[in-house]
């Protein structure tokens, strides 16, 4: 896959499919410790992303991310809409106007994404949120890129770290988001936002590898 705007758009079109495939799983996870809408919120948002991306002309990677971000902000709602939206806006700003991405840009984008989510949502690692998937993903990406890895390798390591981070949310007691209202009853469940972050990164990594 090329790492220009068209390639970025193709990768996010694939993310939209993955979200649709996992809609029910995310709904189910959110029903357990939230309000059962996370999968539907993202499905609604990414369906619109898919609509707009296919009708959008080719553009820079940053423009693609901005389009995805603003679409998610205006269609997802809930906590995930503004958080993913901010993450992608910041990621876009971090990569600037370069026409083609490189490994360092991807690492910088992920780092900016985490910072954006934390700035908005004020969750710390261990609070049982998407930060627990995104933060290790960004760290892994930075480490890999500093080692001289390719984009595909960077995203593969980020994806693996996100997946591990997501699963590590299971025993945690939530301190942010709806799950926090359950207190100790939130332990024993996978955080839906951490899971969707892991799914998105896995999809991006798969696109980069193909």
């Amino acid at each position: 896959m090329s790492c220009d705007g068209a390639g970025t758009a193709a990768a996010w079109l694939r993310v939209a499919e993955v979200v649709r495939e996992h809609r029910d799983e995310l709904v189910m996870l959110d029903r357990e410790i939230g309000d059962g809408d996370h999968g539907e919120n993202l499905r609604r948002g990414f369906d619109m992303v898919a609509d707009r991306l296919t009708s959008a002309e080719d553009d820079t990677p940053r423009a693609v991310l901005r389009l995805v971000a603003s679409t998610l902000i205006s269609t997802v709602g809930g906590a995930a809409g503004p958080l993913y939206g901010t993450a992608l806006l910041r990621a876009g700003n971090a990569i600037g106007d370069r026409p083609v991405l490189d490994a360092a840009a991807v690492a910088a984008a992920l780092t900016a994404a985490v910072e954006g989510v934390v700035a908005r949502g004020r969750a710390e690692p261990g609070d049982k949120t998407m930060v627990d998937a995104l933060q290790p993903a960004a760290s892994a990406a930075v480490a890999a890129s500093e080692r001289g890895a390719t984009i595909a390798e960077v995203l593969a390591e980020a994806s693996a770290a996100a997946d591990a981070g997501a699963h590590a949310t299971v025993p945690l007691i939530a301190r942010k988001g709806r799950a926090s209202y359950l207190g100790e009853r939130s332990a024993g469940h996978l955080d839906p936002g951490a899971r969707s972050t892991a799914l998105i990164l896995a999809s991006l990594a798969a696109s980069a590898a193909s």
């Binding site: 709904v27 029903r31 410790i33 939230g34 309000d35 059962g36 809408d37 539907e40 919120n41 609604r44 902000i73 205006s74 269609t75 997802v76 709602g77 809930g78 906590a79 995930a80 809409g81 503004p82 958080l83 939206g85 908005r120 949502g121 301190r175 942010k176 988001g177 709806r178 926090s180 209202y181 359950l182 207190g183 009853r185």
Partner: protein
């Protein structure tokens, strides 16, 4: 899942068509979704705007009208609305005297309204936000998401709406909103779960004699699963944490708001209300105002919440002031 719907994806839009058919004195928009009183914008009056996930009807759209909300933004079921809805509502409601956003304290609602407020401020609108967090079931702390906004949202909207209607300025409306938020507390319980249309399955399961105490309004389980008990014990279980949370003096005047979560028969709600009024009287409080009904709901959930608002002469005056909305109407 048994629901009178056509398609889970179009529930909110189709319900808004029904509101439009039923209430000619509201303007109902579906893309983006918001409801605004037909005579808005009103020059020189503060616009009071709220919103949140659908499924809590009549909250918020049923409270749009003279003496209460200027406009409201319904999100998908149990999902906060998006910033563009809030921006569109403000655009059609803003009478030039400023905008007060009343937001229930959920991460999603706060973030989406916050985003809207930033964009509106950038456009030069004088916009303030007051967060409602009346639910004593959740322990408050700097390190958590904080308390939820639940049924106490209704008196905030009613009282601030009355002040705005009478011409109070934005500072006064904001101060009044903060006063009500500081004086109102709620606790709820569920006998049955509810089913979100797009989820298709109940939000939790309960045995034949189990209930959830300390629920929110999104079908989430409460803090504690416990045994069903006689009404008077349930009422005590709800009122005690409410009474413990604020300092009360003998002779304090209160509004007692007995709210159904949607599926509780009115006969049971009145029974609980009578029991709660008796208990408060026993504790030396004066139940000066009452509200009883399904106002802040969780779809078809069976359950109730009890809300206490400490009253002052000022709050009583605004509470009693005329209101004319689909769901709350009195005076004039």
């Amino acid at each position: 899942m048994k629901k009178i719907i056509n398609d889970p994806a179009t529930v909110v839009t189709e319900a808004l068509h029904g509101m439009a058919a039923a209430h000619p004195d509201l303007r109902v928009h579906t893309d983006p979704a918001y409801v605004v009183r037909a005579d808005a914008p009103i020059r020189g009056r503060v616009a009071v705007i709220s919103g949140g996930g659908s499924g809590h009807e009549p909250l918020h759209c049923g409270f749009v009208g003279p003496g209460m909300l200027t406009a409201a933004c319904p999100g998908p079921v149990f999902t906060s609305p998006t910033p563009d809805q809030v921006q569109a509502a403000v655009a059609s409601a803003d009478g030039g005297a400023g905008v007060l956003l009343l937001v229930k304290n959920y991460t999603g609602d706060v973030l989406n309204f916050e985003t809207a407020a930033e964009l509106l401020a950038a456009d030069g609108v004088d916009v303030r936000t007051v967060i409602v967090d009346d639910d004593v079931a959740v322990r408050d702390s700097l390190f958590t998401a904080g308390r939820r906004g639940v049924a106490g949202t209704l008196p905030v909207e009613k009282i601030v709406g009355a002040a705005a209607e009478s011409g109070a300025d934005l500072d006064t409306c904001e101060r009044l909103a903060r006063t009500v938020v500081a004086s109102v507390r709620t606790m709820g319980l569920a006998l049955t779960p509810c089913t979100v249309p797009h989820a298709g399955e109940p939000s939790f399961t309960l045995g034949e004699d189990e209930i959830e105490i300390g629920i929110g309004i999104h079908g989430e389980p409460g803090r504690e699963k416990t045994r069903l008990a006689p009404a008077q014990d349930l009422v005590r279980k709800l009122l005690q944490p409410v009474l413990d949370d604020l300092e009360w003096q003998q002779g304090d005047r209160v509004l007692l708001f007995s709210n159904s979560m949607g599926g509780t028969p009115l006969i049971e709600l009145y029974l609980a209300h009578g029991s709660a009024a008796a208990l408060l009287t026993e504790r030396g409080l004066l139940v000066e105002r009452s509200l009883v009904g399904p106002y802040v709901t969780s779809l078809e959930m069976q359950g109730i919440s009890l809300t206490l608002l400490r009253l002052t002469d000022e709050l009583i005056e605004w509470w009693d002031a005329p209101v004319s909305t689909p769901a709350l109407r009195w005076g004039r």
